[in-house]
């Protein structure tokens, strides 16, 4: 079984190809929603921020961790709502057809 560093590198390289392949034929119309959607997906940084704050002991660490969690939560919530609103426009337009 591959372990440690190489496992991580393998995962990351496969993920990079996946990201590239998955959107390689996107119409121009969807550029903005897709950017907004991927903006939401990197909101996963909230998980890391929570772990960082969750293991913070000194006040300095807590302050930085608190900022990280607040910013990441904004990324998640804002990213979702903005994407949802943009996509809703498409839904409405389709429903009319």
């Amino acid at each position: 079984m591959i372990t440690g560093m190489w496992a991580s590198v393998t995962i990351v390289i496969l993920a990079a190809f996946t990201g590239y392949e998955v959107i390689s034929r996107v119409p121009v119309m969807l550029h903005t929603p897709l950017m907004s959607g991927s903006n939401f997906i990197h909101g996963i940084v909230l998980v890391g921020a929570m772990i960082a704050l969750g293991h913070a002991h000194t006040p300095a660490e807590q302050v930085v961790g608190f900022i990280a969690v607040a910013l990441a939560a904004a990324n998640v919530a804002g990213g979702y709502v903005v994407t949802d609103r943009i996509l809703r426009m498409f839904l409405k337009a389709k429903a009319k057809e």
């Binding site: 560093m5 991580s8 995962i11 990351v12 993920a15 990079a16 190809f17 990201g19 590239y20 998955v22 959107i23 119409p27 121009v28 119309m29 969807l30 550029h31 903005t32 929603p33 897709l34 950017m35 959607g37 991927s38 903006n39 997906i41 990197h42 996963i44 940084v45 909230l46 998980v47 890391g48 921020a49 929570m50 772990i51 704050l53 969750g54 660490e61 930085v64 961790g65 608190f66 900022i67 990280a68 969690v69 910013l71 990441a72 904004a74 998640v76 919530a77 804002g78 990213g79 979702y80 709502v81 994407t83 949802d84 609103r85 943009i86 426009m89 498409f90 409405k92 337009a93 009319k96």
Partner: protein, 452 residues
Amino acid sequence: MSASVLIEPIYLLACVSFILALKRMSRPQTAASGMVFAGFAMAAAIAVTCAIPGMENFALMGVAILLGGGAAYYAAKKVAMTGMPQMVAIYNGMGGGAAGAIGALELLRGASGVSAAFSALGGIIGAVSITGSVIAFLKLQGWMRERPIVYPLQKASNLALLGAAIIAGALCVFRPSREILAAFFILSAAFGFLMTIPIGGADMPVVISLYNALTGVAVAMDGFAIGNFAMMVAGTLVGAAGSLLTLLMAKAMNRSIPSILFGAFGAVEQEGGDIAGSLKPIEASDAALMLGYAAKVIVVPGYGLAVAQAQQKVKELMDSLESKGVAVKFGIHPVAGRMPGHMDVLLAEAKVPYDRLFDRDEINAEFSSADVALVIGANDVVNPSAHRTGSPLYGMPILDAEQAKNVIVLKRGKGKGFAGIENELFYKDNTRMLYGDAQESVSKLIQALKDV
């Protein structure tokens, strides 16, 4: 201990869902459902993170999530559709800031070796992303000059700054101290700030996409540093998809990434060659007459339509013209407005049917057979100087509105476009200018059309 066995499987599930979400979002039919996928995946990943053993500070965490998430939720709900591009920029910047802060925290805590190196990478990329995105936000929001800000030795000093940031980052890894750590982040943030101010507003969509990809990479780096594979996969996914998206957007504008980042758009305004002709204003009633008796009208919407929130009125104008037997088509430039697809979204909101919207390749051949090209708040995307070598706009694909028999331009004032370049189209013999806020002007046109 019981819930913690779920952590890895749920992270895996989240990663798969993110991939499926991106896949669905790249097709119009499935785009909306893709977001639901991603939303559930994110909620599950966040919930299960609380089960990681040895976590503390839950109260602080709750307050931070409520504060940050609540404010962002409220702002994102409230902002008008026209403000969406800059909202993407600011939330992306916050993600970058979070990634930077995680890197800082790991270094502060005395991470060493490979982990410290990845923390430093996450730190520098995150810090560049947050200040860069904030500048993009300020420029699009109009709180900062949209024109490129340039000064002598800009590239050299920025390069030196980046070099200094990298050296400070290396010191953080090998000889850590709080002072160096602070210097590292200040230098990184300053670099993000300074490398973004020379970029003009016209290029901002591409730049926002670039910072979006960078934030993804920063998140992946942090994922490496703290050994969290959900962050590694999701971050890399966004980094790769975002990079490709950035290239696609730049291609749609016929711009290259280096020329966007280092070209300082308006700075090369050496032309200024006198434009023949003059600006010829027109009254709404006369414009309505031209429109009412036309057989075919092509509407070219731009940012001015978005600013004036004129999309509903434009739909009314379309209905009114069609009731008079005028064929109405919309020519949508891929980057009209401030983001690709901006116009599609706004016109869809006003319920303009999709079969009236045509992209550049489809509509350009039709301008010569159109009686009137109605340009509503668009400027650079119809500037014929893009066809001429030596123009700063040279090579940008444009809508050939100048080919139409008559051109009516709705414009707020006599200012230049985003790129800061005079538009020859406005001076042509067959062009008339209808000055005023786009919404008011279109209302006047609708009113005047009733008497035609």
